[in-house]
């Protein structure tokens, strides 16, 4: 099987990298092209760019950002944020993305996943799933975590994979930005329920957290703030994962 992947994520707003806690309180964290090139040089296995612009004007920069990053990036690039239609996805793929992540629009209209897979191939289609703990389980949340759906997160992941998602980017809304570790039971539950790869997201602070999520069944780990703050590098994290007995590309 492929090695476990370490995937830096750039949240981009109006063409700049930002970071925040639980989807709010955004702070500037640099130029996306510089960040992308630096993380690729550190050994990142892929890159994710999520457009978190609040306005359509801001979102208009997304394709430009993707194109500028693509020019320098020789590893896979996933992009998402505000993708509602096949044409939205086509614009990002033409600009240079290899995969497109859909979130709210797929919850509203699950048939979007099948249409995207039919047009672009399922390996291009990523379901971005934000999940919040509710009782013993998890529910999908939308609108940057402000709105809960009645949808069971594990059941939704399974349906999305059946409909055409080729990968699931699974974010714990409870852990995102907290640096208290990934929600490993969530990662285990979704990884066991689907055939497609799962990327764990939300809560990473140190290599030990990454190893926990991978041991729980995730195929890849998404990291953001610990890199943006310069606390560690992709290379250091991968060395620690290898030392912990997990196969990574080095």
């Amino acid at each position: 099987m492929p090695a476990r992947r370490v995937i830096p994520c750039l949240d981009v707003r109006d063409g700049r990298v930002v970071k925040g806690v639980q989807f709010s309180g955004l702070r500037d964290a640099g130029d996306p092209v510089e960040r992308a090139a630096a993380y690729a040089a550190q050994g990142a296995d892929e890159l994710v760019i999520l457009d978190v612009s609040a306005t359509p004007e801001g979102r208009g920069h997304a394709a430009e950002t993707v194109a500028a990053v693509r020019a320098v990036l020789d590893i896979p690039l996933t992009t998402g944020g505000g993708v509602r239609t096949e044409d939205d996805a086509a614009r990002l793929l033409e600009a240079g993305a290899d995969k497109v992540a859909v979130n709210t629009a797929a919850l509203r209209d699950p048939s979007l996943l099948g249409r995207l897979a039919a047009r672009f191939g399922r390996q291009c289609v990523v379901l971005s799933l934000d999940a919040a703990r509710v009782g013993d389980g998890w529910q999908a949340v939308v609108h940057s975590g402000t709105e809960r759906t009645a949808r069971d997160a594990v059941a939704w992941a399974r349906e999305a994979a059946d409909r055409g998602a080729g990968e699931i980017l699974l974010t714990s809304w409870d852990r995102d930005g907290t640096r208290s570790g990934y929600d490993c039971p969530l990662m285990a539950a979704v990884s066991a329920a689907v055939e497609v790869p799962v990327i764990a997201s939300g809560g990473a602070d140190r290599a030990e957290h990454l190893a926990e999520a991978l041991r729980a069944g995730a195929d890849a780990v998404l990291i953001a703030s610990i890199l943006h703050d310069g606390d560690t590098t992709v290379r250091q994290l991968k060395e620690a994962l290898a030392a912990a007995g997990l196969e990574v590309r080095r």
Binding site: P2, L77, G96, A97
Partner: protein, 217 residues
């Protein structure tokens, strides 16, 4: 530079990307741009034959892709290129189209330039296979050992490679060995994505561009 007029356009100098309809070409185009080469999408058989270097890219499904090639007569042009030993790079689904058929579209006939069939990964594995795996050397001049990036649900299993003669093969593992890539002169077919495989992939593309090849007929 000539002073008698504007520079003469040399479309044959572009890397020709075979139009397969749905394929996303931005990453391939960017990878060649980093090597100083421009790309051009071709959907005319004559243009495909004239180009020095041609790429058969591929995402999407086997059946629609081969139908799209046939409708434009590109299947014959690809066959001619391969039989004449002209440079061709086939990527991902592009590699699969060179074979006789695929479990993905059981009724569709592939180009049949190579014997064998493409099959889905065994049950119980993560599918699509998404990520980086070690690749063995083929023993040929192009395919060295390294790490390559994959995004595929179907592959040619190692057991189905017995009928392949005169080509050098590399393999990777996902629930058993499968065909990672093969080479025969300037024919290079990769199940992985060289354009997304970092500097190792870029070096492979450079070696392919620089591989010796016969001139156009």
């Amino acid at each position: 530079m000539s002073e008698s007029g504007p520079p003469i356009a040399d479309p044959a100098g572009d890397v020709a990307l075979v139009a397969t309809g749905a394929a996303n070409l931005a990453s391939v185009t960017a990878a060649f741009a980093r090597l100083g080469r421009t790309c051009r999408v071709v959907d005319d058989p004559a243009d495909l034959l004239a180009a020095e270097h041609a790429v058969l890219p591929g995402v999407g499904a086997f059946g629609p892709a081969i139908d799209g090639l046939r409708q434009r007569g590109l299947d014959q042009a690809l066959r001619q290129r391969v039989e004449a030993g002209r440079p061709l790079l086939a990527v991902c689904l592009g590699l699969q189209l060179l074979f006789e058929g695929s479990e993905e579209s059981p009724d569709a006939q592939g180009l049949g330039l190579l014997p064998g069939r493409v099959r889905r990964f065994a049950p119980g594995l993560r599918v699509p296979q998404m990520g980086w795996s070690p690749v063995t050397t083929s023993g040929g001049p192009l395919l060295h050992e390294g790490w390559a990036y994959y995004a595929n649900s179907y592959r040619v299993a190692d057991a189905d490679l017995a009928g392949l003669q005169g080509v050098a093969c590399s393999t990777s593992e996902h629930g058993g060995p499968f065909l990672a890539a093969l080479e025969r002169g300037p024919l290079l077919a990769c199940q992985f994505h060289p354009e997304l495989s970092g500097s190792w992939g870029s070096d492979l593309l450079r070696r392919w561009l620089e591989a010796p090849c016969p001139p156009a007929a």
